[in-house]
């Protein structure tokens, strides 16, 4: 009797322990890596029998709880750069709005699904692959290779540095320990916002590598700041989805968030014990696994040639 709970907006009954376990596992990863976990949770919920539109919207609601818990934990540890986070949020909102219009136009032309699928595979592949190789090299501590690479690509690195330094309004971000123009995180925020809107996710797994590699922020500040940014993105999505589509299932979200907030706390604790490179290589592995699974679903003939609207 107690095992199954009815989810009114999803219109289905589902095992509480299964939901709690899913929430806990994804919340753990959220606290560990500073990602919202939407790119993992939504497909898992769909597999558990939740309609895709309800899965995505309710997941945003539970991410609000997980990222509140995670941001609070990281704030206590001094790992949140609020100044950087607010600029990224502004960029993310602008980018998200542009992305929504872009997807609307593509849908009208009938190319939306193709663009979404390709964007997913390319972004997951590039980010996961780059993080994996970079972390592996860093863990193996091959200074010779690193030196050779630096010597072979001096123009590329200096061009990027020159470009970053040439931007106006240079500003010091104390928590992150970097000095750069606020235009930089603003533009990157717009870019991530566009991708997040196209892919229908919070964008944490794109934002984390952007902060590490393009804004040169230390990994532990990246995780806390990313969670802070995701919190605001998901608050916006939850309210918008509730008003326009009525797809936020509060019962589903509460069970998931109880699991995810607990999981996030354990994730944050473990993140302090792991080195930055270990964190990066773990995240890279998960991103690559999701990419391979998605690529396989694109290449292999599906069991059914009909699907409900809303899924990718």
């Amino acid at each position: 009797m107690f095992g199954s709970l009815y989810l009114p907006l999803a219109g289905n009954g589902i095992n509480i322990l299964l939901l709690f376990g899913l929430g806990g596992a994804v919340g753990f990863l959220s606290g560990l890596f500073g990602v919202g976990g939407g790119f993992l949770m939504t497909p898992l919920l769909i597999m558990a029998g939740i309609p895709s539109t309800v899965a995505a919207a309710s997941d945003s609601n539970q991410i609000v709880a997980a990222s509140t818990s995670g941001t609070y934990a990281h704030y206590r540890l001094g790992n949140v750069d609020f100044k950087m986070g607010i600029i990224l949020i502004v960029g993310g909102v602008i980018g998200g709005t542009l992305g929504v219009y872009l997807i609307k136009g593509l849908r009208a032309m009938g190319n939306a699904d193709f663009v979404i699928k390709i964007t997913y595979v390319v972004m997951l592949g590039v980010i996961g692959g780059y993080m994996f190789v970079e972390s592996l090299q860093s863990m193996r501590q091959k200074p010779v290779v690193a030196a050779k690479r630096t010597a072979a690509e001096p123009a590329k690195v200096s061009l990027y540095n020159r470009m970053v330094q040439s931007l106006p309004y240079q500003m010091r971000f104390d928590k992150s320990g970097v000095t750069l123009s606020p235009l930089m995180p603003l533009i990157l925020g717009v870019f991530v916002g566009i991708l997040a809107a196209i892919m229908g996710v919070g964008g944490g797994f794109i934002m984390v590598p952007v902060m590490v590699y393009m804004l040169r922020m230390p990994m532990h500040v990246v995780v806390g700041t990313s969670l802070f940014q995701i919190l605001f993105t998901c608050i916006n999505v939850t309210i918008m989805q509730s008003i326009t589509n009525h797809t936020v299932d509060l019962v589903l979200a509460i069970i998931l968030l109880l699991g995810s907030t607990l999981g996030a706390q354990f994730g944050v604790r473990l993140s302090r014990r792991l080195k930055a490179d270990q964190l990066k290589i773990l995240l890279a592995t998960i991103v690559l696994i999701v990419m391979v699974q998605m690529l396989a679903s694109l290449l292999l003939t599906p069991d059914l040639l009909l699907a409900h609207k809303g899924g990718h």
Partner: protein, 258 residues
């Protein structure tokens, strides 16, 4: 003269059909169809529900029982290959498809898909349901089968293997009983429950009753709030999430020193 002959022919056909229907109408009244319970409530702990359908049929007859949901149009996506990749390539609209279709019989042969003229079963659905949108005429049978498979995978279209149970005859009638299990994803609404009697390979009687499925208690309250006060619902969802996030964070504060 020729036209008059044609009219007489039509009248004779109609009278013939009416005569064939009379036994069905007479028997329809005495089939004694019972649906137990006739009201299923979806509460917070709803896990699906068993519904028993019972009735009386003449000795030697066979029975078919159906539970049919309200019909509506569904908009689904068809998958196809573009540039070597599988993805959604267009919309297919399914018209007149019931939200739920369950069928069982006293003789499994009656549900054989080869019996395509029968007014029950998936073959009968195929005659009622139409497909439109990004689909050619020759593709329609294939995509109807895909539709059945999709609904079957969701537990909404089912052919029950357990046949209808027949008891010992009483008062020259045989009591029949069938048990349907409504799935957890059954939608609230009115469902038609029908008992069809088959004698000598022909439908001799049919009677239908109603089954109500209603959302009650907390799920009903939440659904009303979500649909009628979307903004309040959204803000409430965010507040609950933030408070829970802080509460859990605060609980872990004591042991969180690193």
């Amino acid at each position: 003269m020729r036209r008059l002959g044609y009219v007489w022919q039509r009248i004779a056909t109609i009278l013939g059909l009416l005569l064939l229907t009379i036994p069905a109408l007479v028997w329809g009244a005495s089939l004694d169809l019972k649906v137990t319970p006739d009201l299923v409530e979806i509460g917070a702990w709803f896990r699906g529900h068993r519904v028993t359908v019972s009735g009386m049929i003449p000795p030697g007859a066979e029975a078919v029982m159906e539970v049919v949901g309200q019909t509506s149009d569904e908009h689904l996506m068809r998958k196809g290959r573009r540039g070597g990749l599988w993805m959604n390539v267009g919309e297919i609209d399914i018209h007149n498809a019931p939200s739920l279709y369950m069928v069982m019989s006293s003789n499994p042969k009656l549900l054989d898909t080869a019996v395509s003229e029968a007014p029950w079963g998936f073959a009968a659905l195929k005659r009622r349901v139409t497909l439109s949108g990004m689909i050619d005429d020759q593709e329609k049978p294939q995509f109807f089968d895909q539709f059945l498979e999709l609904k079957g995978s969701e537990g909404l279209y089912t052919t029950f293997k357990d046949p209808i149970k027949k008891s010992r005859a009483a008062d020259d009638l045989v009591p029949v009983k069938g048990e349907f299990r409504l799935p957890t994803n059954v939608k609230p609404g009115t469902y038609e429950v029908c008992l069809t009697v088959i004698q000598d390979g022909q439908v001799s009687a049919k009677t239908c009753g109603e089954l109500q499925v209603k959302m009650v208690g907390f799920p009903a309250m939440l659904t009303t709030l979500a649909y009628e006060h979307g903004a309040t619902y959204g803000i409430l969802a965010v507040i609950i999430a933030i408070v829970t996030g802080f509460a859990i964070g605060f609980l872990f504060k004591g042991g969180g020193g690193h």
